[in-house]
């Protein structure tokens, strides 16, 4: 663990001490080496599952995929931001990389935490660099509003979580993730335990986001610069899912009745946000709502508390992280050329940038869960576990899948096919950097097809 943490920590002196000519190549190389080093975590060697274990942090099959995803994303974020930051003063560029590196650090500590309070503190800590990135480097005046929504939605949800965790500590004497599964269930008065259950879950449901509490997400995603959108979509949403999965074990007998309304909300959210996607005019907004849609399915999978549900949720989280981040990068390549996120003004790109169309195609297909991509594996596992619980959910998830396919194809056809507008006849061609960025997103996604067992979590049997 330290061999990843220390280099990440030392990314900070690197950014401030390197000369301006070498800043980006150095930061990129260092983060890429960290990412490649983090892949070794996927090798879970111990019988208990907890590897790289010490008093504070450790990795287990549930956290490893998410850890690798967060580490993998940092070089990609740096690649994506290079262009739009190149015109800014050096100190601001260094600050940006610093924020991304600190975010990375907090994420590694959050996913690797063995103690729930440490996870909680890191969970909250990730809000700060993200808020700074959204409000300082975002593009419109609405970014202030977006930052406020983002911050306060998450904070309001997570304060009850703190209380709930402290109660748990008080009652069971420990909050260590290794011990908690074996602790007695918390016995409170009937209504009190329901409130405690909700307090544990609300923070993560807001972060996922669950349909009723998702308002912050489109704002934050749209107003954030590309790296902000990438990390938000790919990793920060998964913090919610990860937290839920960890705490589910503790909340056991209560969950049987309590999950009911949330599963319904999650599945209904899949359909509603999918339908909203079909009416979006702003490309980033469409991708943001599609994130809500996919995360609704993940929430359903986690709340159902079956092995297949958890596995499906974990796989879908990783696959969605890569695919959604790829889509945001593609949207950014559009934005950098036309300076508009409106889909109506950026059409027929297949004629102008045919190679980018390949990436658009693969990313859109990943979004609509085409077999044999892991997106489909995740969705199918969640679908079947939900169906096992109640046959009626199939209607909701089925329609949800249909609408997902509809808006993914709509996004592809709208941006790539059709007449090329007059003002886009001579766009700058795709840069190698952009191709590299897309390749680094989608090649891992394609490689996961070959061994999805790496990402199955605890149930990789």
């Amino acid at each position: 663990m330290l061999k990843i943490l220390i280099p990440t920590l030392f990314l900070l002196p690197t950014t401030w001490l390197t000369s301006s000519k070498w800043l980006w190549p150095t930061a990129l190389t260092q983060s890429m080496l960290i990412a490649l080093g983090s892949i070794t975590w996927l090798n879970n060697t111990t019988d208990t599952g907890w590897t790289a274990l010490n008093s504070y942090i450790g990795t287990d099959p549930l956290s490893t995929p998410l850890l690798v995803l967060s580490c993998w994303l940092l070089p990609l974020m740096l690649l994506a931001s290079q262009n739009h930051l190149s015109s800014e003063p050096m100190n601001r560029q260094r600050m940006y990389i610093t924020l991304l590196a600190t975010l990375q650090l907090f994420l590694i500590l959050a996913f690797g935490a063995t103690e729930m309070i440490m996870f909680y503190v890191m969970f909250e800590a990730t809000l700060i660099p993200t808020l700074l990135v959204i409000t300082r480097w975002g593009n419109q005046t609405e970014r202030l509003n977006a930052g406020t929504y983002f911050l306060f939605y998450t904070l309001a949800g997570s304060l009850p979580l703190l209380v709930a965790l402290l109660m748990l500590q008080n009652n069971t004497g420990t909050l260590s993730l290794l011990i908690i599964p074996y602790a007695k269930p918390l016995l409170l008065m009937p209504f009190g335990s329901k409130i405690w259950w909700a307090a544990c879950m609300i923070a993560f449901l807001v972060k996922m986001p669950l349909y009723g509490m998702h308002l912050w997400l489109p704002k934050a995603h749209v107003e954030a610069p590309v790296a902000g959108s990438m990390v938000l979509a790919a990793v920060l949403l998964k913090l919610g899912g990860y937290g839920m999965m960890r705490l589910m074990i503790v909340l056991d007998p209560l969950s049987k009745e309590m999950v009911y309304p949330f599963i319904v909300l999650a599945l209904w959210g899949v359909i509603m946000t999918g339908s909203i996607c079909l009416r979006q005019t702003d490309l980033k907004s469409l991708i943001a709502y599609s994130s809500v849609s996919h995360m609704g399915l993940v929430a359903g999978g986690i709340l159902i508390q079956t092995p297949w549900g958890f596995t499906g949720a974990l796989i879908l989280m990783i696959a969605h992280g890569l695919a959604s981040s790829a889509l945001f990068c593609l949207a950014n390549t559009n934005y950098e050329r036309t300076h508009s996120r409106t889909m109506l003004l950026a059409r027929g790109l297949q004629i102008a940038l045919p190679l980018m169309t390949t990436w658009w195609f693969i990313a859109s297909l990943a979004n609509l869960a085409l077999p044999p991509l892991p997106n489909l594996m995740g969705e199918l596992m969640i679908l079947t576990s939900l169906f096992n619980w109640s046959a009626w959910t199939l209607i909701l998830t089925g329609i949800g899948t249909l609408i997902t396919a509809a808006y993914s194809l709509y996004m592809f056809l709208m941006s790539q096919r059709g007449p090329l507008p007059q003002h886009m006849l001579a766009l700058p061609p795709s840069y190698t950097r952009e191709h590299l960025l897309m390749a680094l997103h989608l090649i891992p996604l394609l490689l996961i097809i070959l061994k999805p067992a790496l990402l199955w979590g605890w149930f990789a049997c």
Partner: protein
Amino acid sequence: MDKVADALPGSQWSPFEMNPNLPPERADIVIIGGGVIGWSIAYWLKKKERVRDGVKVIVVEKDPTYSQASTVLSAGGIRQQFSLTENIQLSLASADFMRNINEHLGVLNQEPVDLQFNHSGYLFVANESVAHIMEENYSTQRFAGAKVSLLSPVQLKEKFPWINTEDVALASYGLENEGWFDPWTLLNAFRQKAISMGVIQSIGEVTGFNCTLNRMDTVDGETVDVKRIKHVNVRMPNSREYQPVECAIVVNAAGAFSAKLVDMMGIGTGPKDTLSGMALPVEPRKRFIYVFNCPDGPGLDCPFLVDYSGIYFRREGLGGNYITGTSPEEDAEPDVSNLDVDHEFFQEKIWPSLAHRVPAFESLKVTSAWAGYYDYNTFDQNAILGIHPLAQNMFFATGFSGHGLQQSPAAGRAVAELILDGSYQTLDLKGLGFQRIMAKEPLLEKNIV
């Protein structure tokens, strides 16, 4: 306490006081010029956007009083009697639009739009030497669908007894869709409808552009700089404060002042006869309009008469008032630095021909006069619609040279189709693009004047 209430989420309070009149930081399409062409394009863009808020449109106008805008100083005539099919089609479509204006521009719960469209028609009067041009134009016009009729001098005298038909060989009279209307009402109708559909109006002057540059070599070996506008700098009136508006597309509908925008981009500064030297051939030309009163004049049955000598006049209202004007000689263009009226011009150039054509006008009294600019296309006096090859995302809708107002609804629709659909859908106006300027093939009107 107000500050506390204001600081809650969702409010507009910020510790830095910002000018509330600043345009938004970004928009999809910035239309520079709030005349009738600019607002027409804004309206049609919103009409074609498919979903609500599909495109964000801002119209930037530097003078909200419109004191120098060509639109409101226009004589307000509309005719289909052109020789170019594109012009005829534009006017015909516009007339159709204006006849059904409340269907298009009616806003809920507002008063209906009354353009005061007088359908009195245009009457072109030709002598022997130019009669053949009139006949050719007549067939072009009929072929394009305009309802025009040719009148012999006898028929002319019968129809309009107050005309002196001494030297008249042929006259062409528009029977339908021709006449005049109130330009201010049309402008306001477009503006109100566009604003009700979500177009943002910004009062400010464009002082510059931030562009990205692409240096390319053409087939002829010439090096050109192809520019893409990233930001439009809009400066607030009477202030040094400006807002760089990030945008995807800029529409140049600045009328007589369009060339200034092109200069700001640095286009047209290269050597002549090269691509980089191709500037926008639009400059302001001052034209005078004189209002006179003649109680014994033609009366209600007075069309918009255009004489072969160049003078024109039309009835204005019902009190025996008429407005008149003419185009000066090429070498006697008035000074464009102001809108002062030259009254001598009326005495010397207009009155004699006026009195010759209509004997009743020998005794008249000029009650007022004003001057306005034509956005005169020095190349071929016809509209320029489309993209300049060196400015990748600036659409032009300028250079109408005196017939912009009458073509505004259809021209707005054409430019909106060009932007949103990528090509012309209803009227094929490719002939009015920059190609003709690059190829040095002027698309001249074959007029009798």
